[in-house]
């Protein structure tokens, strides 16, 4: 209905959201440490997927290099922490403008010189690869030996320094996922969101409707990069080690986009659902395989491939839109 579209969610959708949120808030009391770590991973991908979705799902600009923003931000925060003793939240304040500026440079080059579609996607890969190779050879950041954050047993959770138990990290990423959901919901129902959708649908028609498409595409890249930035900081402090080969790797970029593709590009629930489906199933696969004592390197990637294949063939709009219709909580198609 129009009313639910302009004012928010249908009553049913809101109820579903409340139940989901309550379950997620209560989760640490109900699951063991391993499952909690899996949930952290799921929410991490829900968060980054949502950030990527701003660019692709809303504004129609395909980025295959989001690992760049994750990697840069994780390095900024980790360097500030290990070398200067500056905490992650201040690190985040430095990482956000840096990531946004990187997005702006890529966006400017692409949009000014009319690099679009797959060529734009290749450009985003190129920048991420450039960063990977650069960091791998940059002595100042320990090059390929990587950066390590000091790990010790913490008696209590220090939220300010992001040092503590998995439960603390879980709540941090849960809060971030909720915030980015709210932000995306806000943006897509505002003027900027409508202009993004217009650009995604038909850029020339959008221009003919008076939309300065260059400007709004720049906004999309910068918002997406800035939001992704937090994921990088979180990554550094959760895993406590950083290697250029890992954080900037193209497979990281691909992992970020699989969730929203499987869940439903351009929807608000798609990235969340996709992260649950994909990471949840992949971890189940892992657990089952290790229970049977099977070790198959690369099984996860094959599994991702199969999931993607099934969704592309059977549910080209992703899992969420048909599911939402069945639940009676369909977001308006956008």
């Amino acid at each position: 209905m129009t009313s639910s579209f302009s004012t928010g969610f249908s009553r049913r959708g809101a109820a579903l959201l409340a139940v989901l949120l309550a379950a997620l808030v209560a989760a640490p009391w109900m699951v063991n440490d391993y499952l909690l770590t899996v949930l952290v991973l799921i929410l991490y991908f829900a968060y980054t997927g949502q950030a990527w979705n701003v660019m692709m799902g809303f504004a129609g600009q395909l980025s295959l290099g989001h690992a760049l923003y994750v990697g840069l931000s994780s390095y900024v925060a980790a360097m500030m922490f290990t070398r200067l003793g500056v905490g992650p939240w201040l690190g985040l304040l430095a990482a956000i403008p840096l990531a946004a500026a990187c997005g702006a440079i890529i966006g400017y080059l692409a949009f000014r010189f009319r690099v679009a579609g797959v060529y734009f996607a290749i450009l985003t890969i190129a920048f991420a690869e450039f960063a990977r190779i650069g960091f791998d050879n940059w002595g100042f950041v320990n090059a390929s030996s990587g950066l390590f954050l000091p790990v010790k047993q913490y008696a209590h959770n220090d939220l300010w320094q992001l040092r503590g138990s998995p439960t603390m990290f879980y709540y941090v990423i849960l809060a971030a996922t909720v915030l980015v959901f709210v932000l995306c919901h806000f943006l897509i129902h505002r003027r900027i969101g409508y202009f993004w959708l217009a650009i995604r649908e038909d850029e020339e028609a959008a221009r003919a409707a008076g939309i300065d498409t260059f400007r709004y595409k720049m906004y999309a890249v910068m918002v997406s990069a800035a939001v992704t930035s937090f994921a990088g900081v979180f990554y550094a402090f959760f895993y406590n080690n950083l290697f250029p080969e890992q954080v900037f790797s193209i497979s990281r970029s691909i992992e970020i986009i699989l969730g929203p593709i499987i869940g439903g590009i351009g929807t608000l629930f798609g990235p969340i659902l996709g992260a649950f489906v994909l990471t949840g199933l992949a971890e189940t696969l892992n657990a089952v395989m290790s229970a049977f004592g099977v070790e198959l390197p690369g099984a996860r990637q094959v599994f991702y491939g199969v999931c993607l294949l099934l969704v592309v063939v059977a549910l080209p709009d992703g899992v969420w839109p048909p599911l939402a219709r069945r639940l009676g909580v369909a977001e308006r198609k956008r």
């Binding site: 959708l197 649908e201 028609a205 003919a208 409707a209 008076g210 939309i211 198609k333 956008r334």
Partner: protein, 241 residues
């Protein structure tokens, strides 16, 4: 009357081909002005230059007292000159109402106000009952009306219509003619249309320009134009008279 839009010796070449050759004309404020001509006469090229989709190679285009030749399409639209596309280009995966709301957001920041304006226009264009449908599911006549509604939503002083009647049945053409005439009468909207459907041109236009091979061969009132020997020869054919 003062001219809202005036072109002075506007030209466009594609390599060797001169698509538009030194064309000059003026559209008075409040007029309905038609550009006709056979296929390949340069009508759409002319139209694209006015709408900012192409830059002219020579000549000046003045809109509301300011030159607009070479401005990008979005800047032209923000100045108050909105277009439709010959091959319709709705935002396919969005609802009819959202399509028009996007147009209305150009000069409004509040989505609610834009939506309200969109609904008014959808009523005018007989699309209100279909406002929640996806644009991709509309029939061609409905899509043509949707294009007009979206263009109108940007609040133009001048509406540029590129073959908006093509593919419509006679009754649908008459309805579109009535809608456009009402818009022109009620709000003083100036309309520049490129049209093949003479039925619509005769019913609507107060003035007609005829293009042939990029050259303006005649300009005048519609009933004088259809009797012009050069026009009959190049375009209408003897039987049309």
């Amino acid at each position: 009357m003062t001219a809202l839009l005036s072109l002075d010796r506007v030209s466009k070449r594609f390599r060797g081909l001169v698509a538009v050759d030194n064309v000059s004309f003026a559209v008075p404020a409040g007029a309905i002005f038609a550009v006709i001509g056979p296929n390949g006469a340069g009508k759409t090229t002319l139209f694209n230059m006015i709408a900012g989709a192409m830059a002219p190679d020579g000549g000046t285009i003045i809109f509301a007292g300011k030159p607009i030749g070479g401005l990008p399409a979005d800047a032209v639209c923000r100045r108050g000159l909105a277009r439709t596309f010959q091959i319709v280009r709705p935002f396919p995966a969005l609802s009819v109402e959202d399509n028009v709301t996007i147009g209305a957001l150009l000069h409004r920041h509040d989505v609610g106000a834009a939506r309200q304006r969109a609904q008014e226009l959808l009523r005018r264009l007989d699309l209100f009952d279909k406002r929640e449908r996806l644009a991709s599911t509309l029939t061609l006549p409905d899509r043509k009306r949707l294009e007009v509604a979206r263009a109108l939503a940007t609040g133009p002083q001048l509406l540029l219509l590129d073959e908006v009647m093509a593919g419509l049945r006679p009754t649908e053409t008459d309805r579109m003619v009535a809608i456009l005439r009402d818009l022109n009468r009620d709000s003083g909207l100036t309309i520049l249309l490129i049209e093949h459907v003479m039925r619509a041109v005769m019913a609507l236009a107060s003035r007609v320009l005829v293009l042939d091979h990029g050259v303006a061969i005649a300009e005048g009132a519609p009933d004088a134009i259809v009797r012009d020997p050069a026009v009959v020869q190049s375009y209408l054919g003897a039987e049309a008279v």
